[in-house]
C-alpha cells in the first residue's frame, strides 16, 4: 500500500478532540475483533477448525461463494454496462433497486427470496413441480449469496465504466468493430481490475452471508450450513470452536479487503457510491 510521503502532525490540521474521537471510532471497530482474537485458543486452533462439521461448513462456504461470485459476474457485468452506458426511462429507479440488497436486512432478503423461490412462490412453485425445487438445497445458498452480493459487483464495474468513459468504445467503433467485439476486446478488459475487485468484494460478502441464507436456504451440514451458520450454532455448544472459525473468517476477510485495495478495484465502487446516478 502506498503511503503519503508527508505525514501531517495531528493538531496542525486536525483538532485534538477530533483525533481523540477518531481513536475511539477505530477502537470501536478494532477492539472487539482483538478481544475475540485474544479469546481464541490459538494452540488448538488447527484442531478446532478441522472437525468434520467445520470442514464441511468451510468447504461449502468456499464453493458457494465462488459459484455465486461467478453468477454475479455473469449477471452483473451486463447490468453494469447497461447502467453506465445507456439512459432510459426509469434508469435511476433500476439503479436504486439494484442497490437495495446492500441496505436491506439480510433476513428481509431471505424472506423475499423465499417468497419468490419457495415452494409456493411464483418461480419456485413451477420449479418444484418439475422436481427442480431449490428449497433446502445448495442452489438456494448460491441464490441467497448472489442476491446480497450482486450490488457490490455491479457498483464496482459500473463505477469503473463511468470513470473510464466511452472514448475507447467510440474509438473501436470508428475502427469498424462491432458492438460485440468492442465489448469483449475493449470494454471488458478495460474494467478488468474493477471487475476483479468487485468480484472479490462479492466473494467476501458471500462468505460472510448469514441471515438470508438461514432464512431462505435452511441449515444442514454439508448442504446448506455455511461457515457463519456453523459458527452461530457452535457458539452455544462449543464456544472455542466458534471463536476459532470466527478467526478463520476474520483472516479471510482481511485477505480479501487487502487484495481488493491493492488491485485498485474499489476505485470503481467508490466512484459509483460517491456519484449520484446519472441524471
Amino acid at each position: 500500500m502506498r503511503r503519503s510521503p508527508v505525514t501531517t502532525p495531528v493538531g496542525d490540521v486536525v483538532p485534538g478532540w477530533v483525533a481523540a474521537v477518531a481513536v475511539a471510532g477505530a477502537a470501536a471497530v478494532v477492539v472487539p475483533v482483538l478481544v475475540l482474537a485474544l479469546q481464541a485458543d490459538w494452540p488448538d486452533l488447527p484442531a478446532l477448525v478441522t472437525g468434520a462439521a467445520a470442514l464441511d461448513a468451510l468447504g461449502l462456504s468456499l464453493w458457494t461463494a465462488v459459484a455465486s461470485t461467478l453468477v454475479c459476474v455473469v449477471l452483473g457485468v451486463p447490468l453494469a454496462l447497461v447502467l453506465a452506458r445507456t439512459s432510459f426511462p426509469g434508469h435511476a429507479a433500476v439503479r436504486a433497486v439494484v442497490l437495495l440488497p446492500l441496505v436491506l436486512p439480510p433476513v428481509v432478503s431471505g424472506l423475499a427470496l423465499l417468497a419468490t423461490f419457495g415452494r409456493r412462490g411464483p418461480v419456485g412453485g413451477p420449479l418444484d413441480d418439475l422436481g427442480l425445487g431449490v428449497a433446502f438445497t445448495t442452489t438456494a445458498v448460491v441464490i441467497a449469496h448472489t442476491y446480497v452480493s450482486l450490488p457490490f459487483l455491479v457498483l464496482s464495474v459500473e463505477g469503473a465504466l463511468r470513470v473510464a468513459g466511452a472514448r475507447g468504445e467510440l474509438a473501436a467503433a470508428t475502427l469498424g468493430a462491432s458492438a460485440n467485439r468492442t465489448f469483449w476486446v475493449v470494454t471488458l478488459p478495460a474494467v478488468a481490475p474493477a471487475l476483479a475487485g468487485g468480484a472479490l468484494l462479492a466473494f467476501a460478502r458471500s462468505l460472510g452471508e448469514f441471515g438470508a441464507t438461514l432464512t431462505f436456504a435452511g441449515s444442514l451440514q454439508g448442504v446448506t450450513r455455511t461457515l457463519p451458520v456453523e459458527i452461530y450454532l457452535l457458539r452455544e455448544t462449543d464456544p472455542d470452536a466458534a471463536v476459532a472459525l470466527s478467526m478463520l473468517l476474520v483472516v479471510a476477510a482481511l485477505v480479501v479487503v487487502t487484495a481488493v485495495h491493492s488491485t485498485g478495484g474499489t476505485r470503481g465502487l467508490r466512484a459509483a457510491l460517491g456519484r449520484p446516478p446519472r441524471a
Binding site: R167, A173, T174, S178
Partner: protein, 704 residues
C-alpha cells in the same frame, strides 16, 4: 477470408501509406450551434479546417465520423451516402463502425490493456482478417509511423508522442476511406510533434483527410487545401499555398501573424480565447491596404453561397411555373434542389426515326439485290394512334415519330425500299437484310422511368420545363427563394414613395438594389434606417425569420457616423481595390438564434450598384438560377480615351454606339445616377492601367 490471405486493407502501398482515398462531401446545418457549413474534400487531398474555438470544426469532424447528429446533415464519401438527415426524403445514417471513416483525436485513446501491435491489429481483426495477416499489416503500418520497436509494449506504457503514432497506425490499419484528425499534435510535446508531423506528412500523402488544427506548421506541412470556419460558417477556402500567401479572413491573418514561421518549434500557441467567435481583431490591411477585387468576390461567395444554399427545398408544381411563365410575371428564377425524375419513359413508346417500312428483321434475313424479299404492304401506321400488331411477313408504312406496331423490330427507310416511295402498291421489295432495332427509338431510350430528367442544381429555363412536361413530372423541388434584408442607412434618406423634407433625399440605393436583387431571384425586404446603431439593431431584431442574407448600403467608410461599421464591430471592413465602391464590409450578423452573412456596400448609389454587380449578383444568380447566371461579357474598342488609377480596378459605365464601340457615360465620379440609368455596360479597366486611348480594346459586361 482464408487463414493466410494477405491483408492489405483497402489501400495500403509499399511504404505503408494508404492511398486512393475517396471524395468527401459534408454539408451540415446545426442551428443550436449556429453551424451552416458545406465542405468538399477531393480524393486524396488533405484539407486543413481552421477557425477559432467554437467555430464548429470538431462538430464537422464528429458529424463525418457519425458521432454527432446535427439538425441537418449530408455526408457523402465516394459514392456512399453516410448521413442524409433532415434534408427531406428518407433519412439515412450509417453507424460509425460502418463508415470507414478514421478518427485521430487529440488524445490517442489507445486500448491500454493491449499491446501496441494489438491496438493496430484491432481494425483489421474487426474487418475479419486472420491473426497472422492482421499482424503483418499492423507491423507494416508500425514501420510506416516509426513505431515498430514498440510493437510488444503495453499501450498504456507509452509516452504521449509514441501513443499518438500508434493511434495513427491504428487508424490507418482500419483502412479508412477518409481520415479525420482533430488537433492530432496538440497534446504532444514539441519535439515529438515535430517528428509526428513529418510522419503525418508522409502517410497522409494520397489519403483523403481533414485536419483540424490551430497550428500553422500543421497547415504548411499537411494541407493541400484550407477551409476557415468562423461562427459556424465557411469564411474562406482555397488551396493552402494560396491562402497562406494571401490570407483573406481575419482569423487566418491573425493566425499567420502569430506564427513566427519556425515550423520546427512545435505547435504555435493557440490564439487567445475569444469572447465571441467573431471578435477576431480587425485584420491588418494587405500591403497596399486594399483587397483585390477577385479576392473580395471569393470572400463574399464563400460566406454567402453556403447561406443561400441552406433552407428547405420548396415543392413547386410545374404547371404553376408554366402558367407564370406565360403570364406577365415571366419565368421566375428557380434552381432545382433535387433531381427531377421521369414519371414516364421518354419516349413513351417504341417509334420510328424515319419515314419507311416497319418490318420484322427476321423476314428480311435472306434479302439480296439478286434475290429481294417481297412483302405485302399492310395498312399504314398513322401518328397518334395505337397500330394493330404487324403480322409476320408483312411491312407497314410508318412515318417519323409514329409508334412501331407490335411485332415490328426495325424500320427500313423508304428510299432503301423498292419502290423507294410510298406509292400505292400491294407489295414492297427489300434488297438487303436489316439488323433488328434499326431506326427504332426504343421506349425509355431517352429517359427511363425514374431516371433523372433534370439534375439538381440546374436552373429551370424553357428547355428544362419542356423536359419536365415531356417526362410527366408534375412537381419539382426547387431551392428556396433567398430572402434578403436590404437596409439603406442614412439619416437623410426617405423611402421612395414618401415626400421629401428639407435636406432629404429619396432612397435611390434601396430602389436600385431591391430591383437588382429581385432580378437576381431574391425576395427583398427593404428598410431605411437613420445613422444610429440602435435603429439599425432594431431593424435587425425585427427582421423576418427567414432572412438568409443582410445587405446594407452606407455607413462603411471611416467617417464619424459610419453606422454599419459601428454596429457590426466584429465584421471585416476595409477597402477593395475598385473604383467606385472601395469601402466594403463583410461578416455575419445575429438574427435571433441564427447568424447570417452581412454584405455591406458603400452608400453611393453607383458604388452600391457596381459593388452588387461585382460581388453579390454572381453568387445570388447561381443560387437562384436567375438568368443570365453571369453577365454577358464582350470586348470592344473605346470610342474615347479614359484615365484610371493604376492601383484600382476601375469600373466605368458605358453604352455601345452604332459603330459597336464603347462610349463612356459620365465620368469616373461615382455619384451620377442619371448616367448610370443611361448605361448598358459596365466597362472594366483592370489594375495597372493608367490610361487607355481611343480604339483600345476594353472588356465590358452587359447589364441590361
Amino acid at each position: 477470408m482464408p487463414e493466410d490471405a494477405p491483408y492489405a486493407g483497402r489501400m495500403a502501398t509499399q511504404d505503408g501509406a494508404a492511398t486512393g482515398g475517396a471524395r468527401l462531401e459534408v454539408t451540415l446545418t446545426d442551428p443550436p450551434r449556429g453551424l451552416d457549413v458545406s465542405i468538399e474534400v477531393r480524393p486524396g487531398r488533405t484539407l486543413a479546417l481552421l477557425g477559432p474555438n467554437g467555430a464548429g470544426k470538431s462538430t464537422v469532424l464528429r458529424t463525418v465520423a457519425g458521432l454527432h447528429a446535427p439538425g441537418r446533415a449530408r455526408v457523402v464519401v465516394g459514392d456512399t451516402v453516410l448521413s442524409d438527415v433532415g434534408n427531406g426524403g428518407r433519412a439515412s445514417w450509417s453507424p460509425p463502425r460502418k463508415r470507414a471513416v478514421g478518427l485521430l483525436d487529440q488524445q490517442p485513446d489507445l486500448f491500454g490493456h493491449l499491446t501496441v501491435r494489438g491496438n493496430v491489429m484491432f481494425g483489421p481483426r474487426a474487418a475479419g482478417a486472420s491473426r497472422r495477416a492482421a499482424r503483418t499489416f499492423a507491423d507494416h503500418l508500425l514501420d510506416a509511423v516509426g513505431a515498430r520497436d514498440l510493437a510488444r509494449r503495453r499501450a498504456r506504457a507509452l509516452s504521449g508522442g509514441q501513443a499518438q503514432r500508434v493511434a495513427l497506425a491504428r487508424a490507418l490499419a482500419a483502412s479508412p476511406r477518409v481520415l479525420l484528425l482533430d488537433e492530432p499534435l496538440a497534446a504532444v510535446d514539441a519535439p515529438s510533434a515535430r517528428e509526428l508531423r513529418e510522419v503525418l506528412r508522409r502517410v497522409l500523402d494520397g489519403v483523403t483527410a481533414v485536419v483540424v488544427t490551430h497550428d500553422v506548421a500543421d497547415v504548411r506541412a499537411l494541407a493541400d487545401d484550407v477551409v476557415v470556419l468562423e461562427g459556424g460558417r465557411v469564411v474562406e477556402h482555397g488551396p493552402a499555398d494560396e491562402l497562406l500567401a494571401a490570407p483573406r479572413s481575419a482569423f487566418l491573418k491573425d493566425l499567420l501573424e502569430h506564427d513566427d514561421g519556425a515550423d520546427d518549434l512545435g505547435p504555435a500557441p493557440h490564439p487567445a480565447p475569444r469572447s465571441a467567435p467573431h471578435s477576431a481583431p480587425r485584420s491588418a490591411p494587405s500591403q497596399d491596404g486594399r483587397r483585390p477585387v477577385a479576392r473580395h468576390a471569393e470572400a463574399v461567395e464563400a460566406l454567402v453561397a453556403p447561406a443561400l444554399a441552406g433552407g428547405a427545398p420548396q415543392a413547386v408544381r410545374v404547371a404553376e411555373l408554366l402558367a407564370r411563365a406565360a403570364g406577365e410575371a415571366a419565368l421566375p428564377a428557380r434552381v432545382l434542389a433535387r433531381d427531377a425524375r421521369a414519371a414516364v419513359a421518354l419516349p413513351g413508346f417504341d417509334n420510328s426515326q424515319m419515314d419507311g417500312y416497319a418490318v420484322r428483321a427476321a423476314d428480311l434475313a435472306g434479302a439480296t439485290p439478286d434475290a429481294p424479299v417481297a412483302l405485302p404492304v399492310a395498312a399504314p401506321v398513322p401518328a397518334g394512334t395505337s397500330p394493330p400488331p404487324l403480322r409476320a411477313g408483312t411491312a407497314a408504312p410508318v412515318m417519323t415519330g409514329a409508334p412501331l406496331p407490335d411485332g415490328a423490330d426495325a424500320v427500313v427507310r423508304v428510299e432503301d425500299a423498292d419502290p423507294p416511295s410510298f406509292s400505292p402498291t400491294d407489295v414492297v421489295r427489300f434488297t438487303a437484310p436489316v439488323p433488328s432495332g434499326t431506326y427504332v427509338r426504343r421506349a425509355g431510350s431517352d429517359v427511363a422511368p425514374g431516371g433523372v430528367v433534370v439534375p439538381a442544381g440546374t436552373p429551370l429555363g424553357p428547355p428544362q420545363l419542356g423536359a419536365l412536361v415531356a417526362a410527366g413530372v408534375p412537381e419539382v423541388a426547387v431551392a428556396p427563394v433567398p430572402h434578403v434584408l436590404l437596409v439603406s442607412t442614412g439619416s437623410e434618406l426617405v423611402p421612395a414613395s414618401e415626400p421629401l423634407g428639407a435636406a432629404q433625399v429619396h432612397d435611390a440605393n434601396g430602389a436600385t438594389l431591391a430591383a437588382a436583387l429581385a432580378q437576381a431571384g431574391a425576395r427583398v425586404t427593404p428598410r431605411v434606417v437613420p445613422d444610429a446603431p440602435d435603429a439599425l439593431r432594431a431593424v435587425l431584431a425585427d427582421a423576418p425569420p427567414d432572412v438568409a442574407l443582410v445587405v446594407t448600403t452606407g455607413g462603411v467608410s471611416a467617417g464619424a457616423y459610419e453606422v454599419v461599421r459601428q454596429t457590426f464591430e466584429e465584421a471585416w471592413f476595409g477597402h477593395v481595390a475598385v473604383q467606385p465602391g472601395g469601402p466594403q464590409g463583410l461578416g455575419t450578423v445575429s438574427l435571433g438564434p441564427r447568424r447570417v452573412p452581412l454584405v455591406a456596400f458603400p452608400g453611393n448609389p453607383v458604388s452600391a450598384y457596381v459593388s452588387f454587380e461585382l460581388f453579390l449578383r454572381p453568387v445570388l444568380a447561381r443560387a437562384t438560377g436567375a438568368v443570365p447566371a453571369r453577365r454577358p461579357t464582350g470586348r470592344a474598342r473605346l470610342a474615347e480615351p479614359l484615365d484610371s488609377p493604376p492601383a484600382l480596378h476601375q469600373v466605368r459605365r458605358g453604352v455601345l454606339d452604332d459603330a459597336g464601340r464603347v462610349r463612356l457615360v459620365g465620368g469616373p465620379g461615382s455619384h451620377l445616377v442619371s448616367h448610370l440609368a443611361a448605361a448598358g455596360l459596365l466597362v472594366h479597366v483592370p489594375p495597372g492601367v493608367a490610361r487607355l486611348e481611343r480604339g483600345d480594346d476594353v472588356d465590358y459586361w452587359e447589364i441590361r
